[in-house]
Amino acid sequence: MSRAENPVELLSAYLDDQLPSDEATRVEALIESDPELREQLAGLRAVSTDLGHLERLAPPPTLGQDVARRIKLAGEQRSLLDRIEDGLSGVQQQSNIFLMFAVIFALASIMYFFFHGLERNQLTPITFVDPAEAPHATDLESATTLFVAERLFRRHGDLWAEEGLAPEAFADARPIDAAQLEATLAQHPELRGTAQLGTVILRLDGEVIKLTFPSTPETGQ
């Protein structure tokens, strides 16, 4: 027997007639010549025989009923789980519908407040005017709101008034004559951008003033 061969495995397989005939013959010869192998084979055979003689047990008579009861219980548990699962999916469906309505409501609210706010504040499009670049005449004609010299102006007929000033205050505005106009513009050069607006009423240094710019001849005729 070579070193690679496990004698117990060979003997056990021999016992079960699992060896090819030539190998079985070789093992028989080895057993014949080796008393230790003979003893091992006898031990394995005895074990196999003893196991084969172990008596078989009949299952307890109540086992069938117990199995049937457990199957029934498992079925009930499963149907309960199914019902819970169905219920949960129903709740999920309801919550999905609720969520959909909530989203629609939220969108509707946003749109309502946006448009209502626009309407309430009369937020017509604002034209931004860079003081360094006078707006084109057509822009001024169409605009109702202008952002000039970092102030917001609204059109009131022929004049432009700074945002927040009530029309009643226009009459009380201190008019700035031509001599004062240059001095005011020298002190507040940012107001030069309002020259294009013609007549402008605004707050300056705590009082309401009325600037009237001389009209400029149109160019590019």
């Binding site: 117990v8 495995e9 074990v47 196991l51 008596e55 047990l57 009949a58 199995v67």
Partner: protein
């Protein structure tokens, strides 16, 4: 369901599975009657305690009931049931620490002996003691070798059937049976021998 009085049936496993799938309760009844003894004895040899074998058997039949409809007939129903039983025993008993050496007195309690030996009382008593020692020794054998030895020497399966049940090659079956028998032989020798 009473397995002890069950008539032997030869209905093919696939037919039983198909009937079970269609809700025919008598199909599972038939499976139980045919295989309750097999499952119970296999569980008993793997667990070593009657009470545990009973629990395991119930659980195995629950599994069978749940999965029988999916039995595809690639192996015999008997092979499939052996496989289900051993898989379940492995998963359950490994969690509880596989029994490897309970007291000899705890082995072979419960159940009803099926074979009447026809021997005298003294002879029967000696045989009973020897059987107890063998059964106790078997629990000292490593579980994966024990499975192979039980299937071969107690259940009488052929090597290729064992390979099918265990999902291993025949060479592995040969090796496991040999190691299992040798471990049992050594265990019995150290206790004074079975017979």
């Amino acid at each position: 369901m009473n397995a002890a009085t069950a008539p032997e049936s030869t209905t093919p496993g696939r037919d039983l599975a198909a009937r079970h799938a269609y809700g025919d309760e008598s199909a599972f009844e038939e499976v139980y009657q045919r295989f309750a003894g097999l499952v119970y004895n296999l569980c008993f040899r793997m667990a070593g305690r009657a009470e545990e074998a009973e629990d395991l058997t119930q659980e195995v039949f629950l599994r069978i009931h749940r999965h029988l409809a999916r039995f595809d007939g690639r192996s015999s129903l008997k092979t499939w049931i052996y496989r289900v039983t051993l898989n379940h025993c492995r998963s359950k008993l490994s969690r509880k620490r596989y029994p490897t050496a309970p007291l000899a007195e705890e082995v072979e309690e419960g159940g009803v002996l099926l074979e009447a030996t026809g021997r005298g009382p003294e002879e029967r008593s000696l045989a009973h003691d020897a059987a107890r020692r063998v059964a106790a020794g078997l629990l000292k054998v490593k579980p994966k070798y024990r499975e192979a030895v039980v299937l071969r020497d107690i259940e009488g399966l052929a090597y290729d059937e064992i390979a099918d049940v265990l999902g291993v090659r025949i060479g592995t079956v040969r090796s496991r049976i040999a190691r299992g028998r040798d471990q049992l032989r050594l265990a019995l020798t150290s206790r004074g021998g079975p017979s």
